[in-house]
């Protein structure tokens, strides 16, 4: 289990926040929204495998085949 991905997600979060602020500050709310959405999608892509693993583990533990 590597802990690196947590830091990676945190860094993306910080970056998206700053970018969001910059865009809103210059009056481009739509692009700010798009950047936020893109950040969410990217992070989701990174964690979706792990979520799948988690569900499988839960299924195995409670024997729900």
């Amino acid at each position: 289990m590597n802990i690196d991905i947590i830091f990676k997600i945190a860094a993306i979060g910080i970056l998206v926040t700053v970018l969001n602020q910059v865009l809103i500050h210059s009056g481009r709310e739509e692009q700010a929204m798009m950047v936020t959405l893109a950040g969410i999608v990217v992070v989701l892509m990174m964690v979706i495998n792990m979520i799948n693993n988690l569900f499988n583990a839960v299924k195995t533990i409670f024997q729900l085949y």
Partner: protein, 170 residues
């Protein structure tokens, strides 16, 4: 090796951002120096009444290097006596000068200024100048507004996009 890649990515994206920001800055700068050169041009025409070719040469010497070309080229065409009118010479020079910084409307103002150049008496010439300067001033305030909005944004986005790429690929 990794560090080199990081430095390269950051450098390239932030310089791209600066390049976009420079476009706005250059447009503002060109419009500003164009207005001051046209003012000088107007004074020369109404006061000294020298031939247009000479006036244009004198102005090209004193104007900023970003717009020098238009005046020197027009002056050169006119002083070669090839049969071009001042308006035609101005248009040729504008066409050759074309750089990516000015917007279409700005060039259009300069072109329509050229149509009136050198084909009426001093009083009407002055009116033509006043109109062009007035329109350019409006474009300038427009450009200032735009650059205030976009210049900083592009610089910031350049750096931040570099950081995003690095984090994604690390």
């Amino acid at each position: 090796m990794k560090l080199l890649g990081i430095v390269l990515v950051i450098f390239s994206t932030s310089s791209l951002g600066y390049l976009f920001a420079l476009k706005y800055k250059m447009r503002r700068w060109i419009l500003k120096s164009m207005i001051s050169s046209l003012n000088l041009f107007k004074i020369e025409i109404t006061y000294s009444k020298a031939p247009l070719g000479e006036i244009l040469m004198a102005i090209s010497r004193s104007s900023d290097k970003s717009i020098k070309f238009v005046f020197s080229k027009t002056g050169m065409i006119l002083s070669q006596n090839e049969g071009y009118t001042a308006g035609e010479a101005w248009e040729i020079a504008l066409k050759e000068w074309d750089n990516g910084y000015l917007k279409k409307e700005d060039v259009e103002i300069l072109r329509s200024f050229g149509y009136g150049l050198g084909n009426s008496d001093v009083y009407n010439q002055e009116k033509n100048f006043d109109l062009a300067i007035e329109l350019l001033k409006r474009q300038l305030s427009n450009a200032e507004e735009e650059s205030k909005k976009n210049e900083k944004l592009y610089k910031n986005i350049g750096v931040l996009a570099g950081l995003a790429i690095i984090i994604l690929f690390l």
